[in-house]
Each structure stands twice: as structure tokens, then as C-alpha cells.
Subunit: 332 residues, 2 copies
Amino acid sequence: MSSKSKVPTISQIAERAGVARSSVSRAFTRPELLSATTVLRVKRVAEELGYVPNSSARALSTGKTGNIAFLVPDVANPYFPPMIRSAQLAAENLDYCVFLADFEESGLKEEKLIERFAGKVEGVILISSRMPEKRLKVLAEKIPIVLVNRDVLGIPRVLIDAGSSLKQAVRLLAHQGHQEIAYLSGPSETWTNKQRQAAISEVTNELGLQLVVIPTEKPSLESGQAIVDQMISSRVTGAIAFNDLIAHGIMTELSSRALTVPSSFSIVGCDNSISPFTNPPLTSVSNETTEAGKIACEMIMGVLGEMNSKNDQLKVLETLLIERETIGPPCK
Amino acid sequence: MSSKSKVPTISQIAERAGVARSSVSRAFTRPELLSATTVLRVKRVAEELGYVPNSSARALSTGKTGNIAFLVPDVANPYFPPMIRSAQLAAENLDYCVFLADFEESGLKEEKLIERFAGKVEGVILISSRMPEKRLKVLAEKIPIVLVNRDVLGIPRVLIDAGSSLKQAVRLLAHQGHQEIAYLSGPSETWTNKQRQAAISEVTNELGLQLVVIPTEKPSLESGQAIVDQMISSRVTGAIAFNDLIAHGIMTELSSRALTVPSSFSIVGCDNSISPFTNPPLTSVSNETTEAGKIACEMIMGVLGEMNSKNDQLKVLETLLIERETIGPPCK
DNA sequence: TGTTGACATGCAACCGGTTGCAGGGTACGG
DNA sequence: CCGTACCCTGCAACCGGTTGCATGTCAACA
């Protein structure tokens, strides 16, 4: 309808400014190659006409899109947004734009998404990847990948190690007199879950405690609620959950059965996402997700710069146990 | 280094398959124009060589990038992730990719982001836009825009109307005997805030209640904590907060002063984001953010399809007051 | 057997930038 | 006064797809 929908191109700027198309291009990308007056003239005309460089065209000729993709298992899981935010901010400072996608905890969907983004981005940041290691390695040959919370040799990665904090939590429970505790596990195939479970199991063995592992469907509130029966019938007196959501599901369900925390059960969460808000406030493990997002972003930029030799960076971030009010002496 | 970093192009596929470049292109985009055997042959060769169409090139010649941008004031605010998630899913189903960016509650940053994305996307979804109406209208002429929680005539928009639920909350407080209540306001220039405040004020006037408006710095937990003094000194007995975060900040600070909810103060939140997790569970207004994200996405696709006549769609979503445990009779 | 038309494919221009190379102009040194 | 070097600018090819048009083939029909 309106004439303003016309976006001007370098050709139009060039004509109007009386220079060649290449000069217009250079005025924006390599102004030091032109005389100051030409640059000024071009820029003024461009401003006047509302010129915006067409980034598809630029991407086509330079081979750089200026985009990266950020793939997470579940956007709505409160664990991820702070990480997304910091990564996006970091990218923006380097003049990159970030695509966000949710692979719904599925390795298949994850792979489909990577393929779909492959042509649109220069690199991909994968959070808590569910893909088989083999596929990851294959894809990493085609497109720069940085992993967060997944440990694959040869692919740059940043790991958040909750191990020491969880060990501390187990000792705390033991100190209070708990003999049998449960680990309410998360997605079984993830690095995060394996690593958390291993840390816990190491200490329970060391201290001679009984450890019961109860799997959950998803790391969600509902899944937590769904396993309360199992937890009760397993005779444990305390539980460490894969994350805060599961822990809170447990607490909700317990309270609907008139069982209170920590007098009936001791509960520990992980990730410190909703733990400050629960009733009572949940003892949990705080981790630097914000830092992780930023580092992942910086890492991928580094990879883009080099692009040649084998890249095997590894960054491990530590965590902190935050004691609140859900640990007490065992009930019985 | 490795030969696999070479991404094949249509030319290579064409040569290998013994057809013209255009046939390769058509094999993927308009296969019905080719014989079945040719399509098959091309696809097999493509598969073999690991061909992936270069989307910059495609975007350049078709003018369609297949991307949209989703701009939010604060990714980490738990109000937004469900909306982001549903919008992204909806986009994906239509084969679109979505850029996510955080404009940090700033209209200036918002505008910068729009300009930056302008060349990369076909449309922009703006959540709780902070930009002046005038600028919005100007930008909407250049690029398709859909607004969420912002009401500008002539720009397609979806509004979540918490008005009736908040009115109900005021009535509930009045019914309990509260005479003076506070509205802990959110970002003053936002549509959401104005609309919420107006609804509350309408009922307090109607019922002859005293309404004190207390502004907050940001719609965050910390800002809630920071205004507790003001709230106490204003002599109100109940408060409705712009959102759950502010409400929870209030509750936290009150409890650190040994004041309990609802016996000392009655508190109502909004958005139903963290309200199920607070201690005690916060009475709040539930809204269909998931639905809003999906609708916004569908709307922008609609706009892309038409692209011509004036587009003034408007969709209003209703809300629900969820009564939990933070309303009681006034203290004094 | 000649005409017609549908169908399949190729040719070449085009999308809007970027960039290597060449050439014109000017200043400076010999 | 000429050679040279440097600075600025233009030309034209190229990035990898898409698409209007032309061509060629073959079957059906009169």
C-alpha cells in the first residue's frame, strides 16, 4: 500500500549519492578505505532514505550470519531463564543475535532443531543435551557446538558441578541421624543426573547409609507429587531431589496428606530456583547458571574465531549448599 | 582441516546428479513440477552429500527469512517463560525460527533491538512494550508487529485483562473488613500497570475504600522488600501487588520483622507465577500466558500473509482469581 | 501424419550485499 | 618534468539459491 514499505538497497543509495555500489558497501563496513567526505555523504543519504543493510545478502556473501542458537530442554523450567538471559546479553554485546528453542527433553527433537538451525547460525549452544555422544560428535564436525552440563571429550563444554554440595547435604542428613535416604532422580540419561546421583551414592556408601533411588517421569512438580507413595513405602526418612521442582512436588503432596517437612521427612532440592519461595523454604544447591550462560557464549565466540584446530576447552563451575528449613532429625 | 567442513551447494548436487541447478532447487521447493524419478535422484544425491539448503541465499531470493523475533522486558521474570515457550512452539510448527531478546524494561533498548532484528525477521512480537505509541506506529509501518499487553489502535494485539479478577480481590478484602488498601504498582508507563491500577481504583471508589498507590522500582522481589516501610507507615491493612514477585518481596520482608501474613497484613499478588510456592501460598490472579504466546504467534503469521490492508485485530484474554491463604480480616 | 498441448527440464537473470583487481588522480622525490 | 607510490573509487564477479521464460519431448487427437 504505502510507498514506505520499500526498503532501499545499496544501489539506490549509490545512485542518489552519485557513487558506486561498492562505495556504499565500504562506507559501512570499511570506512577507512574511503575519503571522509564520501563516507559522510553516503551515510547522510542512507540515513535520509532509511537504509538498513539486508542481512541475508550480507550473510550470503560473507558466510557469517551473526546468529547463534541456544537450545534448552524446557524453557519454562525456572532453572534455565537466567542462563538464557545472560547468554543472550553476552551475545548481544558481540553483535550477535540468538535463536531460542525448546527441545522438550527429547534427543530426537534436539537433533532436528540443530539441523534446522544449521544453515541459520554460526554455532549452537546446547544445554543439558540428550543426544547420544556419537551423534554429538558427528554434528560437532559440521557446526561449532558448545555444551553446558554435558561432558563429551573434544567438544568445548561448561559443567556445573553440584557434587560437593550434594555430598555436604548427605553428610548433613547423616549428622541429623538419617540412616535411609532417597535420591529422587531426574532424566536418567543426562550428565547432570548421573553426576548428582554418583556424588550422593559415593557418600552414602562411605557412611554406610542406605540409598534408595526413585526415578521420576520428568523433572517437574507433577512428577514429584506422583512418587510420594513410593517414597513413603520405601521407608526412607529423608530425600534429595534432582531439582527444586521435584522437591516441591513432594512437599505439596506430603502436606496434602497432613505430613509436614521437616518433622515427617527431610527434603533437599537442587538448583535453588524456586526454593526460596517454598513453604517451608527448601534447602537447596545454588549454582551459577548466569555465569554458565555467559561463559558458554564466550566459548562459542572463541570457537568461531579459531575454527581449525581441535578444541577441547572445559570449564567447571562450583556450587553452594544453601541451608534453609527442610532438614531435621528423622521422624521415627 | 577436514574435508567435511565443505557444505555442498545446489551446483554440486546438480553436477553429481546430472541436472540443472534449477532442477535441484525445484526438487526441494516445487517437486510437483519435476518427474518423480528426477526428484528421487536429486534427493538421493543430496542425502549422500549431506546437502543442506543455505538459508541466507534462500532468504535473499525469496525475501522471506522464516524468522520472527520475540522481545520481552525480562526473560528471568517467571511470568514470561511459559509465554516464550508456547510462542516458540507455535512458530516451529509453522517452520519459523524465533529470536529471543531481553530489552531490560527499557523502551530505548527495545527500539534498538527492533532495528537490529528488522533485517533478520519477518515480524516482531513485543511483550509489554515500553516504547512511546508514536514510535511504535512508525515502526509498525516498516515491519509487522504484534503487541502483547499493550493497547495501540491499528496494531494487532493480545491483551490479558486482569481487571475483573483484581476487582474481585478488592471486594474480597472489603468483605473481610479492610478499609484502607495499597496498590503496589509496577512499571508506571506500562499498559498492564495502568489497567490494573484503574480496575482497582474503580472498585475502591465504588466501595468508598481508601486506596494508597505505592510505586516500586522494578517488578522484582527486591523492590517489594524495599517498600515495606512505606506500606507500613501508610497505615493500610491490605495490599494488592502488581505481580507475585513484589508480593513475595513484601512477605519476605514482613516475616523478617516477625509480622505474619495474613494476620498482620493481607496480600494479593498477580500473574500466578510463584504464588503456589510462597509461604503461605499467595492469593493471586491466574492468566493464560501460554495461550497469549500462541495467539500472538498465530496473529503475526496472519499479518505476514495479508501484509496489505489495515490490520487492527484485538484479542482479550480473561483471568481468574485464585484464592489461597494470604487474605484475612484486618489486623487492627 | 500433422497439430496441439501437457509435461519436464534447462537457461539466465535476479535477490543485495562484498571484495579482488584495475585504473585515475594527486603529491612527492629525483 | 617524469616516474612512482599511494589513495580513492569503480568494475565486475561472486555468494547460493529462486523463478519466468524458452525449449524440447512425447502422447493424444483429428
